[in-house]
Homo-oligomer: 136 residues x 2
């Protein structure tokens, strides 16, 4: 077993929170900035988006289709090694179908796998979110 790592917990959590808050603000540029260049999104209703080019297409489409009004709760923050960590969270609120205007309750859970860049930034390497609530 390797030694325990914990000196970067606050920075790891901040990486996930930066994503969650940028998503809430519908700020595509800020969302993309939280990802590593090779970052992967695994989200409901679509195959994995791999790398910034694909992510830059996916997020505008998501935001054009659905409006989110969600709050997040951080469930755990774990540092795996000097430059890897993960964050588990849950989000709850409402989502609005932008085509119909229908608003429904929504709940998701998130697993962020983050990696520290050479420049010292904790970035999303892999991110999986699954929907707890039934499809709206």
């Amino acid at each position: 077993m390797s030694k325990a790592f914990n000196e970067e917990l606050a920075a790891i959590e901040a990486g996930a929170v930066a994503y969650l808050t940028a998503f809430s603000r519908v700020d595509v540029a800020a969302v993309l900035a939280t990802y590593a260049d090779d970052g992967v999104l695994m989200a409901p209703g679509m195959p994995a988006a791999v790398g910034k080019d694909e992510l830059a297409v996916v997020y505008p489409n998501v935001f054009a289709t659905v409006g989110f009004d969600m709050t997040y709760e951080i469930k755990e923050v774990v540092q795996i090694s000097a430059d890897w960590g993960f964050v588990r969270s849950a989000t709850e609120g409402t989502e609005t179908n932008k085509a119909t205007g229908v608003v429904v309750p929504a709940a998701y859970q998130e697993l962020f796998l983050l990696r520290k860049s050479a420049a010292g930034a904790w970035q999303i390497a892999r991110y999986c979110t699954s929907k707890i609530s039934p499809a709206g």
Copy 2:
């Protein structure tokens, strides 16, 4: 940046494949054996199941509700450190609503975060799966 790790890639992949094949066999005991004691499942339609006691309740319920006939594809296997790694996969096939008998196409994607136990077994520490296909 830490050194690259790759000596355990086959064992890491085998940990995820053990889960996927046990799931296909509807073998609850074998599914549970692929998890660490503190393992967490994040799956569509339910809040996170945390630890073996909760997992031991969730899987029989899932198998009682839905029949799966899926094939898997391993998308990537990455060793993070001496004792952490992850596997990303996708699964595709059909699922059967056991109450109605209705069979629908189904596709999911999976992110397995695995940890090597003191005994040397790669076990699922955190696992998130999201549904690509619309809810059936």
